[in-house]
């Protein structure tokens, strides 16, 4: 039989050792998979992991991909610390994109410095609303937020699809399910001469700083942490679980919605049926890769963004299906969870006596 036993002593650096081991195992496993497909692992890995970053264009693309991952990852890290499992960031992102995009389209052709803030606000409110639903159901009926937020994701995706097929469709767009292209005043500026890296990345960094500050200095952040660690101590301290649930899901929803509208206005430039390659779900991996530390979300987000680029590069230069991105990310999450178990536990083989 195999036994899993609690470790007697743990050290803070064990966590980061575990992260490093998980990353190494991911690369090793990916090499084995590549070899099994008849490709030479080292040069293949070099082609998909290193070469995409060899140009301004590549870095700019990396930043574009990392932007939503970091933004959402920070918000999820805060919520997960509080023991609120918001799995539906993807849906909140989509609602943010949809609502923000709708605001932008409503003011289409209107110039003014206030248009962009209004669009961003619309998007954040859309996500906030989507996060409020699981919060309300949890507080009122004790409904599981994992299930509710997850299922609402599919509702949001379908809603976006309905809208771009119907009311928000470009009147001159030959019936394609796409909105008009957003005008200049509702578009975020690019950061580089090449690629799609845009101002949203600066916002993402800002969120990471804000999140760090919140964890360290803001009492509400402390309250959430205590609630996540021990409900009965929280009760004794006079902290309310309901407030934590609301805060975690409203922050998660609002920030994911913001990430959604930033993606639409900074990257895509119009509403389309599919505005996110699962950034909202991937951000869960990012949050855990960062061990729920808001600052660590930045490198974690960049690293996972690289896996998207690697997937694209694999498709283009190695002829492997694009789904390899998901295999990559799946491996990473698998090894992360596996090794994080080993931070606190160890495995022993033996017999029952």
């Amino acid at each position: 039989m195999i036994f899993v036993e609690a470790r007697s002593e743990t050290h803070w650096y064990h966590e980061w050792v575990a992260v490093f081991v998980a990353l190494s195992l991911t690369v090793v496993t990916a090499s084995i998979l590549l070899a099994a497909m008849g490709l030479e692992p080292v040069s293949s890995l070099q082609r998909i992991l290193i070469r995409p970053l060899n140009s301004v264009y590549g870095v700019s693309e990396l930043i574009a991909k990392a932007t939503p991952l970091i933004t959402i990852g920070v918000a999820l890290a805060l919520g997960f610390r509080a023991g609120v499992w918001n799995i539906g960031a993807e849906g909140q992102l989509v609602m943010g994109g949809l609502c923000g995009g709708a605001v932008a389209l409503a003011f289409w052709g209107v110039d003014g410095f206030w248009v962009m803030p209004l669009v961003l606000l619309g998007g954040s409110l859309g996500g906030l609303l989507w996060g409020a639903i699981p919060a309300f159901l949890k507080v009122r009926f004790n409904a599981n937020e994992i299930l509710v937020s997850l299922m609402l994701t599919y509702v949001a995706i379908l809603l976006l699809s309905v809208m771009v097929h119907g009311p928000l469709r470009d009147p001159d767009g030959f019936n394609f399910p796409e909105s008009r292209l957003l005008h200049e005043a509702a578009t975020l500026p690019k950061l580089f001469s090449a690629g799609r890296g845009h101002l949203g990345f600066i916002f993402a960094i800002f969120f990471a700083l804000l999140g760090t500050w919140m964890v360290k200095r803001w009492h509400l952040g402390f309250e959430m942490r205590v609630t996540g660690l021990s409900l009965s101590a929280a009760k004794f301290a006079g902290y309310s679980r309901d407030r934590t649930v609301w805060t975690a899901l409203l922050i998660g929803g609002g920030v994911s919605g913001f990430a959604g509208v930033v993606e639409v206005t900074g990257n895509i430039g119009q509403l389309v049926p599919n505005i996110s390659p699962s950034y909202g779900f991937t951000a869960i991996i990012v949050a855990f890769l960062a061990r729920l530390h808001p600052m660590a979300v930045i490198p974690a987000g960049l690293l996972v963004a690289l896996s998207y680029l690697a997937g694209e590069a694999a498709q283009l230069s190695l002829g492997i299906p694009a789904a390899s991105t998901q295999v990559f990310q799946g491996l990473l999450l698998f090894f992360l969870l596996g090794t994080s178990l080993l931070v606190n536990y160890r495995v022993r083989f033996g017999r029952v006596t």
Binding site: A6, K216, R217, W218, S230, F236
Partner: protein, 519 residues
């Protein structure tokens, strides 16, 4: 030197050694929690481990049980080298342990909790029958299908004892097992331990209750600051001499001096509640909750653990709010509907029985734990929303200094403190807030003799300064020595209140069993 002492005091040369420990050393960072500790326990011996809070007793037995790895030194068990690398290894080798802090799962039933401690057992009827048989044999009463969540401290302790006994250990380690037991329960436990020792099993017994140690144990090892200082025969010592040897200084008794007769004193806190319904069918309903405490007086509430003390504490602290504001009055202010934070702002502070997980968060540092209840004082929260780390650290440091809490620094995790030191810290956290009303549950549970006196002195000082204190406790001596008036809670029902001078231990015992005697 310690060796020679140990040899001199050996009981009889003929008895065989069960466990032996030589030169065991354990550092936490730079701090030596154990240095070169030698200990030997014979088969069938009941061996006491004594020492003040933080002396390193728990650390020593945790190494024997494979929870901590010694930095150096070695052990043998039944003449074979023994170096457990995990509790399950220790269990297989025949070492059982009952922890100072509960190690049970709240959400599971008693049966499931016991099954979890046993490898390869399933919580079915077969196991239930085995457990019932064992309980019968050692006269330990528990209801197997109750959730641990709904049990009082004494009952939880019993679950742990049963779980350890189920493994049929040859060495049983008990870390302050009786701190929460009633005298009757303690007596039963002693009978059980006596039987175990007759069967040839050895017992290591850690306790701060020196009279118990004298009644029960064959030998006692005294520890101070991580070292063995003496091995004595507790039967040859008085409780006092034992305490003084252990602490290394003389002890003075605390007694509530002249009680200020508050004849015209209006009650500070008045509670009038007919009934508080339980949240689940398994927890205890509170009935006939009528009590009042005058400024400057200490009301003692005695009772066998699990009779509703937890809920009583919650009702008073505000963790359970009542629909009718008038049911609790603070001076002339109705506060029954107010939550914890509001009541705390009015000067009602409390320290619950369960330290880790209720009064404090184990994984947070001491200064962070300060924020839990003291955040509205001393500028710990600036602008109501921002935490000032330096202010919280200063307060934590003040508590540590004032209450002589032994710890590495304010950055130590609450879980790393020894039981008694954590308790001093948590009581200190509230007392420095100068409460008007202080509600405290089992304040000296697991606290060494010196600290016990200190906490009692602090409580009395608070009362003399005009605070009203509600002392919920299972320690009859404590209640009789420091409270002005006493009542008891039994099956959730509160008895009438009597002046302490008119009660005796026997009378109190009857009250605790719900037998109201009319005078």
């Amino acid at each position: 030197m310690t060796d020679s002492v140990a040899n001199k005091k050996r009981l009889s040369a003929s008895s065989k050694r069960c466990i032996g420990v030589r030169g065991l050393t354990k550092y936490f960072g730079d701090f030596a929690a154990n240095s070169a500790v030698d200990l030997s326990v014979d088969e069938g011996e009941i061996h006491a481990l004594l020492g003040e809070n933080g002396a390193g007793k728990s650390t020593l037995v945790k190494m024997m049980y494979g929870i901590l790895k010694p930095d150096s030194g070695d052990m043998d068990l039944s003449s074979e080298p023994y170096s457990p690398d995990s509790p399950s290894h220790a269990k297989r080798a025949g070492v059982g342990m009952v922890f100072q802090h509960f190690a049970v799962f709240d959400a599971l039933t008693v049966l499931e909790n016991i099954a979890l401690g046993l490898e390869g057992k399933f919580p079915g009827a077969e196991l239930a029958a085995e457990i019932s048989e064992l309980c019968e044999r050692y006269r330990l009463h528990v209801e197997l299908d109750r959730r641990v969540h709904d049990l009082g401290a004494g009952e939880r302790q019993r679950v742990e004892i049963i779980r350890a006994l189920m493994q049929d250990p040859r060495l049983l380690i008990l870390d302050e097992p009786t701190s929460v037991l009633t005298p009757q329960e303690t007596e039963q436990l002693f009978a059980t331990l006596g039987r175990l020792s007759d069967e040839g099993r050895s017992i290591i017994y850690i306790s701060h209750k020196l009279d118990e140690v004298r009644a029960l144990c064959d030998r006692a090892t005294l520890m101070r600051a991580g070292r063995i200082i003496d091995v004595v025969d507790p039967r040859q010592e008085s409780t006092r001499s034992l305490g003084e040897k252990m602490i290394g200084e003389r002890l003075k008794e605390t007694k509530r001096g002249k009680i200020k007769k508050s004849s015209n004193g209006k009650a500070r806190l008045t509670v009038r509640v007919g009934e508080v319904y339980p949240e689940s069918s398994r927890s205890v309903a509170l009935r006939d909750l009528y009590l009042s405490v005058a400024p400057g007086s200490i009301l003692g509430i005695s009772g066998v653990s699990g009779n509703g003390q937890d809920r009583l504490f919650d009702v008073l602290s505000g963790e359970i709010t009542l629909p009718n504001p008038d049911s609790i009055m603070l001076d002339d202010l109705p506060i029954g509907h107010m939550g914890v934070e509001q009541r705390r702002a009015l000067g009602m502070l409390g320290a619950p029985e369960n330290r880790l997980g209720h009064a404090a968060v184990p994984d947070l540092t001491l200064w962070e734990n300060i924020i839990l209840t003291a955040r509205h004082t001393r500028g710990i929260l600036t602008n109501k929303h921002l935490i000032s780390g330096p202010a919280a650290r200063r307060f934590a440091d003040e508590v540590i200094q004032t209450f002589d809490v032994r710890t590495s620094s304010v950055n130590a995790k609450a879980s790393s403190l020894s039981g008694g030191n954590l308790q001093k810290f948590l009581i200190g956290r509230e007392l420095l807030g100068r409460p008007k009303v202080f509600i405290v549950s089992n304040p000296t549970w697991g606290v060494d003799a010196k600290a016990q006196l200190f906490i009692h002195k602090m409580l009395i000082q608070m009362a003399d300064a005009g605070a009203s204190i509600v002392l919920i406790s299972q320690d009859i001596d404590e209640l009789l020595s420091i409270s002005d008036r006493i009542c008891a809670v039994c099956h959730g029902r509160l008895s009438r209140t009597y002046p302490t001078v008119e009660t005796t231990p026997d009378y109190l015992g009857a009250l605790m069993l719900g037998q109201e005697v009319d005078s």
